[in-house]
């Protein structure tokens, strides 16, 4: 081997190792920064109270309104997206299994709408809201976020459902079940862990996105109590508090970021655990 070749070989190997560990290092740095800043600013008061008078000038209170608001928004959107998403994923994999071209077209459309930036959903949600004469509200937020997580939910379920072997489907038909029974009773059970993972993934996306709720969910210091009233969300509370010049308020933004990151890490940990646990109900071929 020529010397130049040897150098090239070594050079790229070193670059590869460098970039791999660079990514891991950056991840560690992000997590470290969020925890270090967040834990310093964290207190019981922040987690359990709503903003008091003068909150945005550094007086007392907390972000309970944003925590509960975000949770109710994300739960609502996930449930709604599940109600619309599961049948679509099942339909593609049970009813359309003989129409490869049509299935590919639908998957293609889903991938297209997955790629649309969330701010576009936000703007669209806003036009819908105006069209129906709604105010910024929990309901408008839920509807917008639902549209945003729908492709994520369907495509992740689809990836699991397409691995269900054709033999299982044929066995179900031969025992006399019709297609929708096969879909809702056999396919959902066989892919249970995958469906839960898809739901949790969508939940994580729903709770973390700010751009789509900026126009539609509004912001309030009150706890969420009605579908037709504005609701506070964690990403927006981080964003608003961070742009304040008061250091105490900025500190609370760090605490809010820690809360949001923890929720998302928990959800992702949980979905890994679920995947392992429900393997038993699955029939292995």
């Amino acid at each position: 081997m020529k010397l130049s070749q040897k150098i090239e070989e070594k050079f790229f190997k070193v670059m590869m190792i460098f970039s791999t560990y660079f990514i891991l290092l950056i991840l560690a740095l992000i997590i470290y920064t969020i925890f270090e800043k967040g834990i310093k600013a964290m207190s019981w008061e922040i987690l359990t109270q709503v903003p008091q008078g003068g909150y945005y000038y550094g007086k007392g209170g907390g972000i309970l309104n944003a925590i509960l608001g975000s949770l109710s928004l994300a739960f609502g959107a996930t449930i709604l997206a599940f109600i619309i998403g599961l049948p679509v994923a099942l339909y593609i994999n049970v009813f359309l299994i003989r129409h490869k071209k049509l299935v590919n077209l639908i998957r293609f459309i889903l991938d297209l709408i997955w790629g649309i930036p969330s701010i576009v959903y936000g703007a669209f949600g806003f036009t819908l809201m105006i069209f129906f004469g709604l105010q910024t509200s929990l309901l408008a937020g839920i509807l917008t976020v639902t549209l945003f997580i729908l492709p994520i939910m369907i495509r992740s379920m689809d990836e699991i459902l397409r691995t269900v072997p054709i033999g299982l489907q044929e066995a179900s038909y031969s025992l006399g079940s019709n297609k929708s029974e096969t879909a809702f009773r056999i396919f959902t059970r066989q892919s249970f862990s995958g469906i839960i993972t898809a739901v949790l993934l969508s939940f994580g996306r729903a709770i973390g996105d700010a751009a789509s709720v900026l126009f539609t969910a509004g912001y309030t210091d009150n706890l969420p109590n009605s579908f037709l009233e504005p609701v506070a969300t964690l990403p927006l509370s981080i964003f608003f508090q961070l742009s304040s010049p008061v250091p105490e308020v900025q500190d609370r933004a760090y605490a809010s970021a820690l809360v949001l990151t923890l929720i998302i890490l928990l959800v992702s940990l949980f979905s890994r655990g679920i995947g392992k646990r429900y393997h038993k109900t699955k029939i292995n071929f």
Binding site: S19, L112, I116, P117, S118, V120, A123, F124, F131, A210
Partner: protein, 296 residues
């Protein structure tokens, strides 16, 4: 006792499925139509070419020039890709060709976590780490005085945000290449790097282009993190240390006042329409690269 008999339940389930499917399949069409109708007021009065290439942005006197925002978006996106693309490519090759399967098991959760971190948190991290780094070290080192809130800061943050996205696709692509190809090249006496350069890269090229294209589209539409560190100054940036403004940031920043100035909301919806068009266009093109890749 069931409320409905089997046949009736089948009909209910079936129609539920069809309605949901239609809703989802028509969604892009509705998105486009809704945004188009809202921005019609603006498109009707100005020509689209004028809107895109005019440099003046003064909504209060009816001047809507999107050029600074489009240029800002392109700068930020392209720079982010330039940082992110080589890192992702090298990592994907390393992880799939040089390491044990065990290493992927560490790498996958790491990628998942990076992908799961919300964009406001990335923005916060950018303000805490990247912005001071640029104003204190990188700027003076390059001989530029900068606040830190700049095009380059946004590109840094953005490049990290799109890493998990591109890396996932690249790893899939490199894993899908049949081992025989690699073995054949190695048995002919090629070194590992020669095998990668001349065999694997060539085989994976359409897939790599597609991965970068998807990443580019994703970066172009990213809102909150960019908004928080880019500086938000409506001006054509002269160098990468200048503050800039991007299309998504424009929409997000002005939602509060958009109803008070005539045509302002139309202008913002037009910006959203532009984003939608760019995103659909890129994803469409890249889809064909992926299809081509799968045919080989």
């Amino acid at each position: 006792m069931h409320l409905l008999n089997r046949q009736q339940r089948h009909v209910v389930n079936y129609s539920w499925m069809i309605i949901s499917l239609l809703l989802v399949a028509l969604l892009p069409f509705f998105l486009f139509l809704g945004l188009y109708l809202k921005s019609f007021l603006l498109i009707h009065d100005y020509s689209i070419i004028d809107l895109i290439f005019s440099k003046e942005w003064r909504p209060s006197s009816g001047k809507f020039g999107f050029y600074p925002f489009i240029v800002g978006s392109i700068w930020v996106t392209v720079l982010a890709m330039l940082i992110s693309a080589p890192i992702c490519l090298l990592t994907a090759i390393y992880v799939t060709q040089y390491t044990q399967k065990r290493f992927l098991r560490i790498m996958h959760p790491a990628i998942d976590i990076l992908a799961g971190i919300p964009s406001v948190v990335y923005g916060l991290w950018g303000i805490l780490v990247i912005v001071p780094f640029i104003s204190k070290y990188l700027g003076p080192w390059c001989g530029v005085k900068t606040m830190g809130y700049s095009i380059i800061a946004a590109s840094f943050v953005l490049s990290i945000m799109i890493i998990p996205f591109i890396l996932n696709i690249l790893i899939e692509i490199f894993r899908a290449i049949p081992t025989e190809l690699k073995e054949a090249a190695l048995s002919l006496g090629a070194t590992p790097w020669q095998t990668i350069k001349h065999v694997l890269m060539r085989k994976a090229l359409p897939g790599i282009i597609a991965a970068f294209g998807f990443g580019l589209a994703r970066a172009f539409g990213e809102t909150m993190a960019v908004l928080m560190v880019v500086g938000n100054v409506v001006r054509l940036p002269k160098n990468v240390f200048d503050p800039g403004y991007t299309l998504p940031a424009l929409i997000a920043n002005n939602y509060g006042e958009m109803l008070s100035i005539p045509k302002y909301d139309s202008a913002l919806m037009f910006a959203a329409l532009l984003l939608l068009a760019v995103s659909l266009f890129f994803n469409l093109i890249m889809h064909f690269f992926i299809v081509r890749y799968n045919k080989y």
